[in-house]
Amino acid sequence: MYTIYSATGCTRCKIVMTKMRELSIDYQEYDMKAEGKEAFQRFYAANRKAIYRGPEGVEFPVLTDGQVIRQGLGPALAWLQAGHELDGFFRIGVLHKEWLDGITVSGGDAGKSDDFLAVLRHLKKNAMRLQVETNGKNTEVLASVIKEGLADRLVMSILGPLSLYSKIAGMLISEDEVKKSIALVAQFPEKQFQTSVVPICRDSGEVSYLTPGEIGEAAALIAEAAGNKQQPYLIRLFRPEGTQDEALKQVESINSGMLLPYRSAARVHQVKTEIEKAD
């Protein structure tokens, strides 16, 4: 028996419960704003480390089969669809109402694309608008998403210049896939290219941020693959709390003002480059 912790009026929770009924999965619902408040408090106290609490509180639904906990609409549906097989494709996002993000075509095993697309179809059937992300990996999956109309907005992270791409990604990503993905995203009606100015461990052993010149190369890569210089391109701040690498967490943070040279370098190749403002 599954347990789902929900909140009164939570549309996303209802979508997950609909899916469980379709799959004939028995479940118990605890509405944490009503009769399930204490049950959720006990569950949360016992599983604090596994449950994400953001600036606006806990993201619902929270789903568990007694062993595994999945939080958020995307991760919950992915678990119901295919268990661990879809790990990496879905994470908790930041968008609300009818928009769902945290969907990454590059994050999981391309061999499980059928199940991945099935989850997206279920979300679209339930009137969700989907922001889908990629860093270039799994181009064929991206192509399928686009072909079936399963995305409303595409966000492509250009990790850096091609020479540093796989290093930054922490895995091998073919240059060809990156360029093909750029070309696909560039033609999509609503899209955003972005690069976070991250610190990387150089061959010398030194840890330093991507340079303005390297961001310029990333912008040039977009221009080459997209065929024009008018793509929306956002240069983003590095967030140390988001990295798993302890060495990178120690690097001194930078602020929006320090991104101006990056913007200047990028604008040579992408005229609509802008920089992210800190919250």
Binding site: L260, P261, R263, R267, K272
Partner: protein, 478 residues
Amino acid sequence: MSYPSIYPTGTTVYDPTKCWNGYTIFQAAEEGALLIDMNGAGVNMWKGLHGFPNKLLPGGQVFGHLGVRNPAYGMQDQTDLVQVDWDGNVVWKFDKYEYIEDPGEPPQWMARQHHDFQRTGNPVGYYVPGMEPQTDKGNTLLLCHKTLKNPKISDKTLLDDTIIEVNWDGEIIWEWCCSDHFDSYGFDEGAKNILARDPNYRLAGGGQGDWMHINTMSVLGPNKWYDAGDERFHPDNIIWDARETNIAAIISKKTGKVVWQIGPNYDSSEQLRKLGWIIGMHHAHMIPRGLPGEGNILIFDNGGWAGYGLPNPGAPKGIKNALRDYSRVIELDPTTLKIVWQYTPTEAGYMMPYDANRFYSPFISSAQRLPNGNTLITEGSGGRIIEVTAEHELVWEYISPYWGKQLKLNMVYRAYRAPYEWVPQLAKPKEVPIAKIEVATFRVPGAASLAPVKETTVVGAKPYLLDPGVLCVAATDE
């Protein structure tokens, strides 16, 4: 108020012994940047060079712009800022702030500059002994526009004001965005309500809210307040004012935060009540070190209509709800907000309030402190540029004869006085005094003289007994 249909233009008042003599630069409406001598002779017209504003530089160079964005898509967006030499060659240019693709127009980079800019070496954009703006190096601060949305202010698209600093190579090295600091400007709930509904919505570009309308921006420069330990007045800090919100503020260059401010309301403290409402102001700046009054803030307080707040009969929706039909130039101590000098209709010799709007420009305008203590005032809407002494004597007056064809105004946005030495290309011009003209007897050809043909004594007529107290409206301080 009555305004004569026929009146002399060019220089109409001139006492060389009392003026700070030099050249005056201003934008002649729809003609170009014009440099005149004290007698009003045009010594160089940079034909077609836009000016928002024009500023003279040492060596006979001038700042201006090559063009403006199609008003259908942008409001007051100058395409660039250029530095032009005496012969019209562009020696420096900046335009790479935003790539603009307007329907039917060639896509291009634009500076989207408006209202002001400053060059390293001189904080305020006008002549200060010992503070020459750099002409072959240095950074430039520009006041620019950015179109964006900020749900804290309104759900409508906003025409926001930004300040950028660019180096000599045209790279943007610093940027400040006005709407980022919305929470710090002190708008009350009435102002926020009307801002949300109508952030001064303008038609250009499919509709944009020109909510602040910053129209001046300059650096404080070295000053006595900072020397005395007041960090608010750090020399690198920037002062600006906004005509729609009636705010003048100083921001920290280091943090971008507001460190000193007057407005948007002027009834929240005894100091501000004594200062009086500053409405639709222009050219708020700190008088630089080296000039009389250094450290004080000089403001052209337009009057007119501005502000956001509760509705009143003059502003039924609450937008532009502060109203006044005369202008004043005020110089105030920024630490006490006391007025240390002013030029208002009273000092100009007009009866208040009856004839107050004889000194009145509801938009544009400026005030420049001169090295001898005089002040050059641009009363812009009527194209009038005057120089007054510290004792308020009018010693120079120039009325622009340049009327626009697209806009039927002889407006002068801002005029600046510069020393003769800044134009080495010319010999020092002759300074010919203009004898004072008695207006009562000044006649155009064909008009009769003053004296009546027949003067008749009426037996029993008593002397006139006139006092402001007998006029139909009360005096301001009655």
